[in-house]
């Protein structure tokens, strides 16, 4: 398969691979995708509580080269942005930047979803609710916003 140079670059030298403390109050975590679909993306943001700006972003992705590149690019773009600016990032911008072919557009969608999920997780921790947000257990419902995945995973770990 012909990958663009930018995809190959992000794949070979991924930016901001890593893990932030998901329990920290200033960290938002978004986990999207499923192993059986071949993509799981975890994106984390660290927010400066005074300025409201994203001061750090990390990712880990199980998926194809385009999925890895999309999340790597997303972390680069997130740093220094306000939550509002971050929320405005569209998957089409990722497609354009990485020259993703049509079969790989879902990778960019996943990255956009992961950004939103991370922001919502952070806001949830800060007690900010959006219209339509449900309380507590909604993250256990398949297909819901995925902000709670990390906590769910942690609960499962604790229960072992």
């Amino acid at each position: 398969m012909a990958y663009s140079d930018k995809v190959i670059d992000h794949y070979e030298r991924p930016r901001n691979v890593g893990t932030l403390d998901k329990n920290a109050p200033d960290v938002g975590t978004g986990v999207v995708g499923a192993p059986e679909c071949g993509d799981v993306m975890r994106l984390q943001i660290k927010v400066d509580e005074k300025t409201g700006k994203i001061i750090d972003a990390k990712f880990k992705t199980f998926g194809c080269g385009s999925a890895i590149a999309s999340s790597s690019l997303a972390t680069e773009w997130l740093k220094g942005k306000s939550l509002e600016e971050a929320e405005a990032i569209k998957n089409t911008q990722i497609v354009q930047e990485l020259s993703l072919p049509p079969v790989k557009i879902h990778c960019s969608v996943l990255a956009e979803d992961a950004i939103k999920a991370a922001i919502h997780d952070y806001e949830h921790k800060r007690g900010i609710h959006h219209d339509g947000d449900e309380e507590h257990d909604d993250h256990k419902r398949a297909g819901s916003t995925l902000a709670g995945q990390a906590q769910l995973a942690q609960e499962l770990a604790r229960n072992k």
Partner: protein
């Protein structure tokens, strides 16, 4: 270290033609171009003589008689001819066939077609080690069983089935035994007498011969096996396979068999050493990597290794200078799940990808060293990026997480 890239390590898919094979074939395209069925001139006699030599070379490699070799276009045709041919010829004695779920598609699909036509097929399942055992056959045989079709060695994982014991069971019960020997012939000792095989499929291009030529061994004595032909028109090959013989291809197949017989002992010892070096080199450096199939009861040149928590396409991207075959247990867009690995029970695991390393006559130790290093660094690179690996290390059971699929 100077290794020429890309490296070919997919010798279960096909092999390079040995230069000695090509040399033997060439005159049969030009000077000796005759039709082996032309009985009244020297062009035809020369062609027929050449096919006789090839028949003997093939028969010698598998412990058969020259007259028992039927030339075909390849192992797919051989498998089709064996299964359809026997099923239709012996339909009045019963309509029950026994095979296994991880056979090659060229066996699975003919059996499935027969099932649609009113035959009854019992599908055996291998154990976790990938092996079909004789007692499974013994238990499955019924009074109306007419054919057992179990491959000698599996093309994806390289495990070797209990062929001699299965042959003995079939003999005792009076059931015909077909084996797809595509991956085994020329690589490990194959003796149709010792193994009690009645029908055996083989292919040229898996043994450093040309593509488009293969053979079916059809037993002539104890019992004399008869087949209903698929192709009619001229009655070539004892009426079982009509069509002008592919003389250059047949000469190449014969030469390839001769070389395999001469060099098997040395070659298999060398390949086993390289294969085990590869397996050990990878699994000792990656604690997540798992060898699929039985550790020792396997082909000298085949190793199939799973890499959990790593996605298949990204691994292929990392391994792009190494030509290997990948099977993925996850249903990512471009990679089909491997039904062979699923048959081993691997499908239950959520996320892993697998690579089949197929070594061959032209594989060097330098290439093995390169591939070990490439596989280890690629997988480590991807594990460091894998959220699933991190969850696994935290002790989270991935099968219990409620993923939100897209």
């Amino acid at each position: 270290m100077s290794v020429k890239l890309p490296i070919y390590m997919d010798n279960n898919a096909t092999t390079r033609v040995d230069p000695r094979v090509l040399e033997a074939m060439l005159p049969y395209f030009t000077e000796n171009f005759g039709n082996a069925a032309s009985r009244n001139h020297s062009f035809g006699w020369e062609a027929e003589d050449a096919t006789k030599v090839a028949r003997k070379q093939i028969a010698d490699l598998i412990g058969a008689d020259s007259k028992e070799i039927i030339f075909t276009s390849g192992a797919t045709e051989s498998n089709n001819l064996a299964i359809f041919g026997a099923a239709r010829m012996y339909a009045d004695q019963g309509k029950h066939i026994i095979s296994a779920i991880h056979e090659h598609k060229a066996v699975l699909d003919p059996c499935k077609r027969l099932a649609r036509e009113g035959y009854d097929v019992t599908w055996l399942e291998p154990g976790r080690d990938g092996i079909i055992r004789a007692e499974q056959i013994a238990q499955a045989i019924r009074p109306d069983t007419i054919l057992v079709s179990i491959m000698w060695a599996n093309n994806e994982i390289g495990t070797i089935n209990e062929i001699e014991k299965i042959g003995a069971v079939c003999k005792e019960k009076g059931v015909l035994f077909h084996t797809d020997g595509t991956q085994a012939v020329g690589k490990i000792p194959v003796d149709v007498e010792k193994a009690g095989v009645d029908l055996l499929s083989g292919s040229g291009h898996k043994i450093y011969g040309p593509k488009g030529v293969g053979f079916l061994y059809v037993r002539r004595r104890k019992p004399r096996v008869r087949l209903t032909p698929i192709l009619e028109g001229g009655g070539h090959e004892r009426g079982m396979r009509s069509g002008t013989l592919n003389v250059p291809g047949i000469v190449g197949l014969g030469k390839a068999c001769e070389l395999c017989q001469q060099e098997m002992a040395e070659e298999s010892a060398r390949l086993i050493k390289l294969r085990d070096k590869l397996i050990h080199g990878i699994t000792s450096q990656l604690d997540t990597a798992v060898l699929n199939g039985h550790p020792t009861q396997r082909l000298p040149h085949t190793a199939n290794i799973s890499f959990p928590y790593v996605e298949g396409e990204s691994l292929m991207m990392a391994m792009k200078e190494v030509a290997v075959s990948s099977g993925s247990a996850c249903t990512s867009a471009s990679l089909e799940p491997s039904y062979v690995l699923k048959a081993l029970g691997l499908g239950d695991e959520l996320a892993h990808s697998s690579i089949r390393f197929g070594l061959g006559r032209f594989t060097t130790e330098e290439e093995i060293d390169y591939v070990i290093d490439k596989a280890v660094t690629s997988v480590q690179h991807l594990l460091a990026m894998s959220p699933l690996y991190e969850m696994f290390k935290e002790g989270i059971d991935l099968s219990k997480v409620e993923w939100a699929a897209h």
